[in-house]
Amino acid sequence: MLAVNHVTKKYGKFVALEDITLEFTRGVYGLLSPNGGGKTTLIKMLVTLLFPTCGEILWEGIEITKLGEQYRDIIGYLPQDFGYYKNQTPRQFLNYLAALKGIDRNDAERRATEFLQLVSLGDVMDKKMRKFSGGMIQRVGIAQAMLNDPKILILDEPTSGLDPKERVRFRNLISELSKDRIVILSTHIVSDVETIANRVIMFKDHKLFCNDSPSNICRTLSGKVYETWDIKSVTQPYFPLTQRQEDGRTLVRFVCETGCPTAARQVTPNLEDVFLYVYRDEVI
């Protein structure tokens, strides 16, 4: 089990995360917050790139900084801004990272090939990455994260740069991988989390806002989300979520805390509704 105990991270006077307590066991955890919400800070602490100002992070009851190499050996990490050596091929790059991960050279060669094929880069694994698209680079990143068969797979904004088809394939891959490991993925793309995460962790004002299953989180807005073609007729205070054009008319989806407006139809809330509502700037 990976445990985050009362962790705070400060940069001078700026508090990036405050008193975060979390526990991770097998499954997919989605970290959800707008940009700058503290997701990457938490992730960087989990991969020992940052150190908590106070609090501790434990793996099987031992502080991860004390475990050092032993801990990093069981993590796979895809950073948000995934850098790579443009003049190398994916195979060369993965072989280098395999050496850093302490994987035997022959084993590394086999695993690099296997994972590059898994992310559909088998036919370009010996081509220089200079001309690769963003999606291809992201797939190289996913392959390298899996290289050491990690017990904890940490993916920071893994779907950015992927096209819809690749995104679906990625979700399926993550679902498959999460059977026997902890997968922590951060994103601000709500649909990614909604489909694959067992639990969603949301931060607000640099503090832990919620840590629950997507359905339970959606339930917090149960009976408060509505849709209407005539938003002007809604007299109660409301918060608009989304709007859609159809046949020259506008369908508005909104949250209303004070009972059911007559001109609107109640709908089942989804995670995006919660996201937009939780991180709203102000109510109209």
Binding site: K44, R72, G83, K86
Partner: protein, 386 residues
Amino acid sequence: MLIYRYELKKLLKSAAVWGFIAVCLLFNIIIISNSGNAYADFVSTVAEDTGYILDQSFYEKLSQVTASDKKAKYYLEQLKYETDGVTDVFEGYEVKDIADIYINVAGLSGFFAKTMRDKYTALQKVVEEKAERDESLTLYFAGATHHRHNFLFGTLTGWLFTEAVLVSVLLVLLSIGYENIHGTENLVYSTKKGRLVLRPKFAASVTVGFLAYALLALITLVVYFSKTEYGGVWRSSVSSLFNYRVDLIAGIRPFVTWYSFNILTYLMAMLAMGAGVVLCFMLMAFSIGMLVRNSYMAFLVLLIANGVNVVLPMQVSQTLPIGLAVRCFSILSPVWLWLKQGIWFTDGDIDIIWPHFEMFGLCMSLAVLTVLCLLATNYFRKRDFT
């Protein structure tokens, strides 16, 4: 070992490093091509027949040398004139006066004056031993000695060390900053090896740094020695009576080294010392590279730090013991060792109170920089990668 090889490959594939080495070599070849001295070549050729020791045999053989053309005849006459009636410059040579002059001009007192005086007391014994061995009675390049000695051991090795220092510093900073440049810091430092990857990185950059130094030295010296004639004088003492130092404070004086060096052993000693200075700068670059994330900024910081090291001793008041201490100890730093490269293995000049200052400075610098590296490594291991 595998990571070391990968890091080595990264550096060896750097076009910028190869380009810089090529430019340095081109520059060296240009200065070598302008360094010719026909008389020195003539002396060296003659020495193949006469030998380099100025004894009876030398004069007998010199008298039998014949000149083939007008120019050679002129050079032969000049050589005979220069070597005629020469005496051992170390016989009765007193170095004590140099200490007094330096102490007065530099305003040294207390410990610093005593150290300076002790140095010249020790040097006096060396001078007497040299006199006993008739060490100065060797030909070197006769009247062309000063020019040729200064070119090889001042200008050429000076540039060689400068280039080696620059290229090795760039290699260390390139190696440490490689992940920052390519945006792979987060990826690399979160792997199992993590921040300990700096060890193979440093080892690889030191290896390539020394290889670059060896390559620069090898090509430069091969070009130089193929263009100049050293055949008969290789074993001439560098403390030959024809060699001298121009000291603005103590005047023109013999070139006295602590040990007995001939041209070959002096060159070897200089190259070895140069390697030591290169290592010092690599350690310095490593320390700074771990504190400053951006390689270009780290290089700038390194330049500024060394600039301050050069300027500071000149700015601090020499009337106070602290001022003298700053001046006397800063001489032991890598940048000053590099600046004083032309007088390595000698008694030094007014700035130098220490005997064997280059060895002392090298050991001190290596010790201090090793500690700095360990501290910087410790800082790096706890540094946040934001």
